[in-house]
Symmetry: C2
Subunit: 740 residues, 2 copies
C-alpha cells in the first residue's frame, strides 16, 4: 500500500477533528437520518405512489408482524444458514427497519421492538465467548465470524440512534455498556489486527464501531473508526478509503466485493457527513466513493451480475440490498444520474431515506428509463496510487447486443483474489461466454459448509488453471501464495481504446513465474459492416529454459465441432493432475500430438455460435477437460474447458475469438453456424515483431505487433510476403492490405 500525499492529507484532516476530542451529546437521530429528513420522507409518502411508498409498505408489513411479539435473541450456536445465525441477522434488520418506521410514523410500538431487542443484547453480549462454530482466523461472538459481528454493529448502532430519544438515559447506558462495548472492545482490542486490516472486513468493522460511536456519543469509538484501533491513522476508515480504491475508484477486491463494501463505506460516510460535515467525506479523494459505485456498476453483465473474477457468486446482481442503500446515498450526495435509475428500477425498492425518496420521485416522473446501463469501454487502474496494473473492458454494441471482453492485469486483490494475471473473460448477449469460475460457495445453505466459501474455492477456483490464462509447469501464478502475489500486479504496456475499428490492450508480467516473461495483447477488431467484433489474442511466453505452457478456455456452452480428430476417453477417465487445481479437472479427451497446428473449436451458447481458432506449435497438445474431479460433495459445477498445451522455451499462443451466426430452435433456422476464419499463419515472431496473417471471411488480415517495448512509438517499415508495410506505433492491422 502506498499512501504518500493522500496519507499526508488525511493526517491533516484527522488533526482537525481529533482536536475536538470530547464527549458531547448531540442531536439524535443523526447517524442514518435526522428528524428533519424523516419529516421530509413522511411528507414525500403523502403523495408518493412509487417505490418509496411500496418499500415503506413492504417494510411496515414485515415489521408489523413483530409488534407485541416475543422475539428470540438466542445463545449463538449455529454457522451461517443455521437458526441462531439467521435469527441474529434477522434481528438487526428488524431493529433497523423498526427504528426507521418509528421515526416516520411516530408509533412507539416500533421503538419498543428495538428497545426490547437492544436490552436483550445487553443481557447476552457480556456473556459471550468465541462462537462455537468459529473456524476463521477472525472468530465472531454473536456470529461464527467477526465480519458478521461487524454487520451487527452497523445496523444495531443505527437502530440505537434511531430510538435514542425513546430510551431512558439508564437504558442508553446499559445498552452502550453491555450490548455495544463487549463487541466493540472485542473487535478493537481482542482482534485488533483484524480491525486494522486494509480489507473489506475492516470496512464493516470500522463503520460499525464508528456508527456505534456516533449513536452513543462516544468520540473515542469514532476516532478509532476513522484512524484505526490505535488512532494513528495507519488503519481505520480513511486509510481504508485510501488503500482499497485506486484513483479511478477501482476497489482492490473487484466489483463483487465492492458491492459488499460499498454499504459500510456509504453508511458510515453518511453518518460522518451528518456529524462532521467539515470532513467532506463524500468529496474525499476526488469523490472516490462515487467512482467506486459507478465503476462497480460498469463491471456488470447486462443482467446486473457482477463480473465474476476473484471470489464472486454469479447469482449476485446489483439488485442486492447493499446497493439499494448505496444508490440512495449516492443520489443524496452526488445528485441525479440516469444509470442509478436504471439500477433502482431493477431493484424495485428504495431505501427509506431522502436519497431513496429522490429516486422514487425521479422514477415516477421519468417513464423512459433505459432497460440497461450505459455500458462503455472502460479502463481502470488498480492500487492506491493507480500504479498496480488494472483492468480493461473492451466493449462493442449496445443493450442486449453488448459484447464485453475483460482483460485483467490488476494486483492480487487480498484474500479473495485469484491467481489470474492476464486473464480474459468474455460476455456476449447477456451470457458468460469465456467464464471465470467465480467462487465455490452456496451462500446461506448450511449443508454446504455452513454457507461459507467451500474448500474448492481455494483448491480450484482461485488457481490459475481455473482461468483463461497461461499456467506454466502446472503451477499457479506466484506459487499460489497470497503473501507473494500481494507484492505484484500485472502491467499495462499500452492501450488504445479510441478506435472503433481496432481497440487494443497490451499487458505483461515477469512476476507470475520466475524466469518467464508473459505478454498478452488483445485486439478487438470491428471490421467494416460487422456487427460483432473479432478478437485476436496474442499470448507470448518467453523463458530461457523449456517449460510446459497451458492455456485453458473455459467456454460456456455446447461443443458443436472441433476441426481435428481427438482421442476421447469414453469408458474410463482420469483427473488431469494431482494439485494446483488440476485435480479438479477430468480429462475427457485429448490430442496428444497436433498434426496441424491450426485448431478450431466451435460452441453454442444460447442462440449464438462462438469459435476459438488457435495457432499452436507443431506437436502441441489439446486437452478437453471438465470440472468435477475430486469433488465428492458436488461442490463444483460440471463445466468444460479446452486447454491448449505447448512445451518449449518460447511459446506464442495466437487465438482468434469469433462471435457468429444464430441458432433458433423454435423456427429451426440456424445461420452462419461455421466459423468464417479459415487460417492463422505466424509470419514472424521474434523480439521485434509478431506478424500474424489470418484469413477471415475470405479476406486476409495482417496484424503486425511491435514486441520491442522501446520501439512502441517509433516508425516501422517491414516487408511481409513481398509487400512493404509502414506505420508508426505499437501495432498495425490491415484488412485486404488496407490499414484498419
Amino acid at each position: 500500500m502506498v499512501f504518500s500525499i493522500a496519507y499526508m492529507k488525511k493526517i491533516i484532516v484527522l488533526f482537525v477533528f481529533s482536536c475536538s476530542y470530547l464527549v458531547h451529546a448531540q442531536q439524535h437521530p443523526i447517524a442514518f437520518a435526522t428528524a428533519k429528513e424523516f419529516a421530509a420522507i413522511k411528507q414525500a409518502l403523502q403523495t408518493d405512489k412509487g417505490l418509496l411508498q411500496q418499500s415503506f409498505q413492504q417494510i411496515k408489513k414485515e415489521t408489523d408482524a413483530y409488534i407485541g411479539k416475543v422475539i428470540d435473541v438466542p445463545k449463538p450456536k449455529d454457522a451461517a444458514g443455521g437458526y441462531t445465525h439467521e435469527r441474529h441477522k434477522a434481528n438487526y434488520n428488524l431493529m433497523f427497519n423498526a427504528g426507521i418506521l418509528y421515526n416516520i410514523t411516530g408509533n412507539a410500538a416500533y421503538a419498543e421492538i428495538v428497545k426490547k431487542l437492544l436490552l436483550q443484547y445487553a443481557q447476552l453480549n457480556p456473556t459471550l465467548k468465541n462462537h462455537p462454530e468459529a473456524t476463521s482466523s477472525s472468530p465472531g461472538r454473536i456470529f461464527w465470524q467477526a465480519l458478521n459481528d461487524a454487520n451487527w454493529l452497523v445496523y444495531t448502532g443505527l437502530s440505537f440512534d434511531l430510538v435514542y430519544n425513546y430510551l431512558t438515559p439508564t437504558q442508553r447506558k446499559s445498552i452502550a455498556d453491555n450490548a455495544f462495548a463487549p463487541i466493540v472492545n472485542y473487535v478493537t482490542v481482542d482482534i485488533k489486527d483484524w480491525f486494522n486490516l486494509i480489507h473489506n472486513h475492516a470496512v464493516w468493522a470500522t463503520a460499525g464501531v464508528g456508527i456505534v460511536g456516533v449513536a452513543t456519543d462516544n468520540e473515542h469509538y469514532v476516532q478509532q473508526a476513522l484512524q484505526g484501533a490505535d488512532k494513528n491513522g495507519k488503519a481505520g476508515f480513511l486509510a481504508l478509503i485510501d488503500g482499497l480504491f485506486s484513483p479511478d475508484g477501482f476497489y482492490t477486491e473487484g466489483p463483487y466485493y465492492t458491492r459488499y463494501a460499498v454499504l459500510p463505506f456509504y453508511m458510515f460516510a453518511n453518518a460522518l457527513q451528518q456529524t462532521k460535515p467539515a470532513l467532506k467525506i463524500f468529496n474525499y479523494r476526488n469523490s472516490v466513493l462515487e467512482k467506486a459505485l459507478l465503476t462497480a456498476l460498469q463491471q456488470t453483465n447486462i443482467n446486473g451480475g457482477f463480473y465474476s473474477y476473484n471470489d464472486a457468486l454469479k447469482e449476485k446482481t446489483y439488485v442486492s440490498g447493499e446497493l439499494v442503500t448505496a444508490l440512495a446515498m449516492a443520489w443524496k450526495y452526488y445528485g441525479a444520474n440516469t444509470d442509478l435509475l436504471v439500477v433502482a428500477k431493477q431493484q424495485n425498492k428504495v431505501l427509506l431515506h431522502t436519497g431513496g425518496a429522490g429516486i422514487s420521485k425521479a422514477l415516477a416522473t421519468n417513464k423512459n428509463i433505459p432497460a440497461y446501463l450505459n455500458y462503455t469501454t472502460l479502463e481502470l487502474t488498480d492500487g492506491a496510487d493507480g500504479k498496480s496494473g488494472g483492468v480493461t473492458v473492451l466493449r462493442n454494441g449496445k443493450n442486449e447486443k453488448l459484447t464485453s471482453l475483460i482483460v485483467k492485469y490488476t494486483g492480487h486483490g487480498l484474500s479473495h483474489g485469484h491467481y489470474d494475471k492476464l486473464n480474459i473473460n468474455l460476455y456476449d448477449a447477456g451470457n458468460e461466454i469465456l467464464q471465470d469460475y467465480g467462487a465455490a460457495r452456496f451462500i446461506g445453505i448450511e449443508q454446504k459448509y455452513g454457507g461459507r466459501y467451500l474448500p474448492e474455492t481455494k483448491g480450484f477456483a482461485m488457481q490459475t488453471i481455473a482461468h483463461n490464462t497461461v499456467v506454466v509447469d502446472e503451477q499457479s501464478h506466484f506459487g499460489g501464495k497470497e503473501e507473494v502475489a500481494e507484492n505484484y500486479h500485472g502491467n499495462k504496456i499500452f492501450s488504445n481504446l479510441q478506435s472503433t475499428a481496432c481497440k487494443v490492450v497490451a499487458t505483461n508480467t515477469s512476476d507470475a513465474y520466475k524466469g518467464v516473461y508473459m505478454q498478452r495483447h488483445i485486439y478487438q477488431l470491428l471490421l467494416p459492416n460487422a456487427e460483432k467484433p473479432l478478437y485476436i489474442d496474442i499470448f507470448k511466453n518467453i523463458a530461457a529454459t523449456p517449460h510446459q505452457y497451458d492455456l485453458p478456455f473455459y467456454y460456456v456452452g455446447n461443443l458443436i465441432s472441433f476441426n481435428q480428430p481427438y482421442t476421447a476417453y469414453t469408458t474410463n477417465q482420469n483427473t488431469l493432475g494431482a494439485k494446483n487445481g488440476y485435480q479438479y479437472l477430468w480429462k475427457e479427451a485429448e490430442i496428444k500430438k497436433l498434426k496441424n497446428p491450426f485448431t478450431q473449436l466451435t460452441f453454442l451458447n444460447g442462440k449464438t455460435f462462438y469459435s476459438i481458432s488457435s495457432l499452436q506449435q507443431d506437436s502441441a497438445q489439446v486437452i478437453f477437460a471438465r470440472i468435477g474431479g475430486n469433488d465428492p460433495n458436488y461442490n463444483l459445477r460440471r463445466e468444460p474447458a479446452c486447454i491448449l498445451r505447448s512445451k518449449g522455451s518460447n511459446i506464442t499462443f495466437i487465438n482468434a475469438i469469433e462471435i457468429h451466426g444464430q441458432f433458433n430452435g423454435t423456427t429451426e433456422v440456424s445461420s452462419n453456424t461455421y466459423s468464417q476464419l479459415s487460417s492463422i499463419e505466424k509470419l514472424q515472431d521474434d523480439e521485434n515483431y509478431t506478424v500474424v496473417k489470418i484469413f477471415y471471411q475470405q479476406q486476409p488480415i495482417i496484424l503486425i505487433q511491435v514486441n520491442n517495448l522501446q520501439a512502441l512509438q517509433q516508425h516501422h517499415s517491414i516487408t511481409i510476403q513481398g509487400l512493404k508495410y509502414e506505420f508508426t506505433g505499437a501495432y498495425a492491422v490491415y484488412l485486404n492490405h488496407k490499414k484498419l
Copy 2:
C-alpha cells in the same frame, strides 16, 4: 390401430365425396383463404394496430427485400442446416408469404416472385433423383428426407393457389406437371408405403398432396390425400385423424409432435372446409382437432415448452410457427378462447388469416390477458379407441407457482416413442425438476449430424435407463424394440383427481418385461396449510425369479446433501454399463451396500430445494451417475442422476418427493433448506396391502394401499401398530390418524 365405428363413418363420408370424382375448375384462391376472406383481412388492416398489422408489416418487409431479385433454386446438395436445404426452405416460405401479400395488396410484384420460383421448380424437379445426403428410410428429392419434400408440397401448393389467377393456363399446366407432379408421384408411388403410414410424416405428405390437389384442381390427388395412395381409406388424412388421436385428442407421439403435426392437420382441414364443407372436417370425431390443440397446450411447462417425453427438444415452445397457424385456424373454426390469446400474446404474431385477424382484434380489446395458461389437473387416454393407457398430469398451484407431476402410461408413440412405461416427470416453479432427457438433437445445425436426430437419441435418450422408471436387469422395456413396444401400453388401474388433499393415479404393466409385474402409485398430498404438494411414489415390482431393479431419478440441479456416506470415484471413473443406455452414464459415486435403507437426496434447482426420500431394501445400492460416457462428440448434456438399485424377486421402491424452502443468493437468506421428512417405514407389503408410515413435519402419515385389484372398491379394515383403520376403496391416507 383399431378403427371400428370411426372407420365405418369415414367410409361413408368418403363415399359421398368420391362420387363427385371429376376434375372441375373452381374459384381460386381457396386452399388457404378466399378472395372474400382476403378482402376482410385488408379491411381489418385499415384499423388494426396490433399483431395483425405487425405481422403484416414484418412479412411485407421480409418479402419486399426479394422484389425484383434473382432468387436461387439450387440443385439439392446439403443436409439440414446446409445452404441448399435452407434455401429451398426459405423459398417455400417466401412463396407463401408473397402469395398472401399479393392477395392482400394486389401488388403484382409479389405474384411475380411466386411465379418465377414456381417456374424454376418446374425446371428443377423433373431432373431430381434421390437427394445425395439422403440417409433415412424415406429419402427426399429436394431435401434430404421426404418429410421436407412434404413440407414443400404444403407451402408450394398453397402458394400456387394464391397466385392461380396471375398465372396463364400454360404456366399453370407447366407447374402442375413439372413442379408438382414429380414430387407428388414420388411420394404417392415411389415411396407409397411411407405415404400410407400412420405417422406425422404422412400427415404432412397427405396434406401436401391434398393441398396441391385443391390448388391444381386435381381431385385424384385430393382423394389420395384423403384415402391413401390406393384410395381405399386404410391410409390418408382421415385414417390419420382416426389413428393418431385418442378420443381425448391425445396425439400418439406426444405433445412435442402434436406441435409439428397440427399445422398440416389444420392447414389441409382448412382447405377441405373451403372446398368440401359437407365433410365438416373440423367437427370430425367430435372435433378431435380442437381437442388435439388444447390438450397439447395443456401439456406444456409454464414457459410454453412442451413436455419433453418421447423425442422432444426442450427449446421448442408453443411460440413455434406451426402453432401460430393452428391458433388462427382454431380461432376461426372453434371460436374465441382465452387460452389461445395467452399463447398468441407470447407468439407475438398472428397468421394473415381471418382467424389471425380475430385474435389480433381480441388482444387489442382485452388488455387483461393472463400471463399463463389455465393449467389444470389433466388425464388423457391414448389410442384410437382410448384404450391404450394414457397420461395423467397431477397439478397444484397457479401461474408461476404451478407444480405438475406427469405420470406416463401411454402406448409407445411410434418411431419417436421412448421405452418409458410408468415414467414420472416433475415440473415446478417453471423449471424441470425430474427430467425426461428429451431427444439428442441440435436442430438446424449442420455440424451436428446435419441437424438430424443424433445417434444418442436411440442409444441413450430412448432407453429406459434415461427415465425415472424401473429398469429390470439393465434391459430396456420391450427389449428396446419398437415393433414389440408398439403392441403394448401401460394401464391405468384407477385414478382419483377430485380431492385437493389427495390425488392419486395408479398404473401398471405386465408387458414391459416378461415375467415382471410392475405397478406404480403416485399420491399427490396437499397437507393442511401447505402450499406445495408432497408426492408419495410406491413402485412395486413382482417376479417369480430374482432380478436387478434400477430406479433412476434424473434430478435437475445441484446436489446439496445426501444422508449417508458414499464412495466417490474422485480420480478415475468408469461408465456404468456397456449397453442399453448404461454406456452413456459415468459412475461418479456409489453406495455398494446400504446400511440404512432410508436414503435422502436434497438438491437445489433455481431458488427451491427438493428432496427425494426413499426406502429401499437392506443391502440395496445407490449409484450417482452422470450422462456423458461414450459421447466423444459432446452430443449429450452432462446432467446427473441418482439411481436406486435393488436385487430380489419382489422389490418395492417407496419414495417421497418434497418441495421445500427457498434460496436467495442476493439477500443471502435461505429458509427450510432441510427436508422435513424424517423417516419412511414399510409396515406391510404383500398381495393385499402396502402400508407405509412416514414422519413428515414431525407428524405421522399412514398410507394404506390396496394391492388386490379385485378389492379396490371394497371395504377394508386393517390393524396397524395396534390401531384399527377402516375405509372403502383403493387406498387411504391418514395424517395424525385423521383421514385426508
